[in-house]
């Protein structure tokens, strides 16, 4: 999920730096990135891979360079390029291997998918509706009542809360009983000023 956050640009800066360094040293993680982006593309049925342009730009920005696709072989383990003291050299290598991982996408198959990769159902039974589908039906009185009962049933998890009550008055009219006004909301008598009420409040709080 850290990879997911990184692709979406929501990983904190310090964690992004650490992740890039880990990518340079972890082939399995690089494969995971490639698979993750492929899964996302297939689920969304996008031809363009979401987040790729932004990812390349962020890597390039870290290097202070223009985004360039360069096919560079990953350095061998133990190479001088992989030592922590290499600084920018490490960052450049990480950027290159990240781009390699991304360049493997787009084809019909990912060449080096591990044998134990989880099979992905590419034909989900349910899909997110379009705005037109959602707005095709106006909420009926019964549906609005269901929404109110949903809010009331799980107050700790309630969604619209009190602000949604404003639109449900019409539904309540058949079940309303007239009551006496609440004295707390009626105008206070002229002998009590707001400042005096504030002092009274403070005294009660002590």
């Amino acid at each position: 999920m850290q990879i997911s956050a990184f692709v979406d640009g929501e990983l904190p800066e310090n964690e992004s730096q650490l992740l890039l360094r880990r990518l340079s040293q972890d082939a399995a993680m690089r494969q995971q990135v490639a698979q993750y982006l492929e899964i996302g593309r297939l689920i969304r049925r996008d031809k363009d891979i979401p987040g790729v342009d932004g990812l390349r730009s962020r890597i390039a920005a870290a290097l202070g360079q223009e985004p360039v696709e360069v096919a560079i072989e990953p350095p061998a383990v133990g190479s001088a390029l992989m030592t922590p003291a290499s600084g920018i050299a490490v960052a450049a290598t990480v950027a290159a291997v990240a781009l390699i991982g991304l360049s493997q996408l787009g084809g019909p198959a990912i060449g080096n998918v591990p044998d134990d990769a989880v099979a992905i159902d590419l034909a989900p039974a349910y899909t997110e509706p379009t705005p037109e589908q959602v707005l095709a039906n106006s909420p009926t009185a019964r549906l609005i009542e269901y929404s109110r009962r949903h809010d009331s049933s799980s107050p700790d998890l309630a969604s619209n809360g009190i602000l949604s009550r404003m639109v449900t008055f019409e539904l309540s009219e058949g079940r309303l009983v007239e009551i006496e006004p609440d004295p707390h909301l009626l105008p206070v008598d002229d002998e009590t000023t707001p400042a005096e009420r504030d002092r009274d409040d403070a005294a009660r709080s002590e």
Binding site: A85, P129, H150, L157, G161, F169, R175, D182
Partner: protein, 325 residues
């Protein structure tokens, strides 16, 4: 930087510079964990006295509200006043809310639980234990003129919405909260344009500005008789992490039929499923009620409706896979 290179050597200086960047955001390394921020937020929402202006945005439409919250002798008093339209006001005193509707010259009194009237949609501190979301601190910034830090709650799949919460660095009070969909678009946002904390919240900030002399006061009668029951309805294809947290049968006082009401939750999001005999009046498919999606399907002669603040695909999946066991 050049001076450092002369003393230490060119190959190490960039590494040191990169290391320093890890601490570039002031104080980030010493911040509390996301869990701790969430805990502090939960406390701040209920215990902070504040007054301010809130901009509430929902699916592209905005509304300004004047808000105030004060605790006196253990009793919470809150006021939300719409600055637009008919000027609706909500005043909460303890466990009752008063919905003041100027256009109808009416006040509707309803019972209320112990949560904030403004922040009912915030994840609780238990969200850190939910395996289907990630919690992370993203960056610092300024909201309503105050230093703030952004907490992101990211779902692991497309069946849940995410949350983005900007917390006041000093008090962990939520200065801005956003509910975001799977595309990162904001569904609902509550943002303080200005805010004042402290005990010196004036009494007038909590008083209604509307003269109620000629208003009629109402209370809603209990419409439903509710029983906790075991039901033979269940969902065959719940999204991962969702489980039933309550089952009820509800009978309206003015109806002959009952409705089965099951609530499913993953710890942050919740979905209600209502199962009633088919009336022939409802159409199948999706609908939108505020920020909640709903989906209705007919199953075995029953009308099954799922509603909740989750993506449309989630309510469709749950409603469509309800079965009598």
């Amino acid at each position: 930087m050049q001076q450092i290179q002369r003393k230490i050597g060119p190959s190490i200086a960039p590494a040191l510079a990169a290391s320093c960047m890890l601490w570039a955001i002031p104080g980030m390394a010493q911040q509390s964990s996301p869990d701790e921020w969430l805990d502090r937020m939960s406390t701040a929402v209920t215990s902070t006295n504040y007054e301010g202006t809130v901009i509430r945005r929902q699916r592209g439409e905005s509304e300004a509200l004047k808000v105030a919250h004060k605790i006196v002798a253990g009793i919470v008093t809150e006021r939300l006043a719409s600055q637009e339209g008919d000027g609706l006001e909500i005043i909460r005193i303890g466990d009752e809310v008063h919905c003041i509707l100027p256009d109808r010259k009416s006040v509707l009194v309803e019972p209320w639980n112990n949560q904030s009237t403004l922040f009912t949609a915030l994840p609780r501190s238990e969200a850190s234990n939910t395996p289907h979301y990630d919690l992370s601190l993203i960056r610092e910034g300024r909201i309503a003129g105050r230093s703030a830090i952004m907490l992101a709650i990211r779902p692991h799949d497309e069946y849940r919405f995410g949350h983005r919460i900007w917390l006041d660095k000093q008090s962990a009070f939520p200065l801005q909260t956003s509910l975001v969909d799977t595309n990162g678009d904001v569904i609902e946002e509550i943002k303080f344009a200005d805010i004042k904390f402290g005990d010196n919240i004036a009494a007038t900030a909590l008083d209604t500005s509307i003269v109620l002399d000629s208003f009629t006061w109402y209370r809603e009668t209990d419409r439903y008789e509710t029983l906790d029951v075991e039901t033979n309805w269940d969902c065959d294809d719940l999204p991962a992490g969702f489980h039933a947290i309550s089952m009820k049968t509800e009978m309206a006082s003015d109806a002959d039929s009952t409705t089965t009401h099951i609530v499913y939750s993953d710890g942050i999001a919740s979905v209600s499923v209502f199962i009633a005999e088919t009336s022939g009046e409802e159409s199948d498919g999706w609908a939108l009620v505020g920020t909640s999606n709903s989906y209705t399907a007919e199953i075995d002669g029953f009308q099954v409706t799922a509603v909740g603040e989750v993506p449309g695909v989630t309510v469709q999946r749950i409603a469509s896979s309800m079965r009598r066991q």
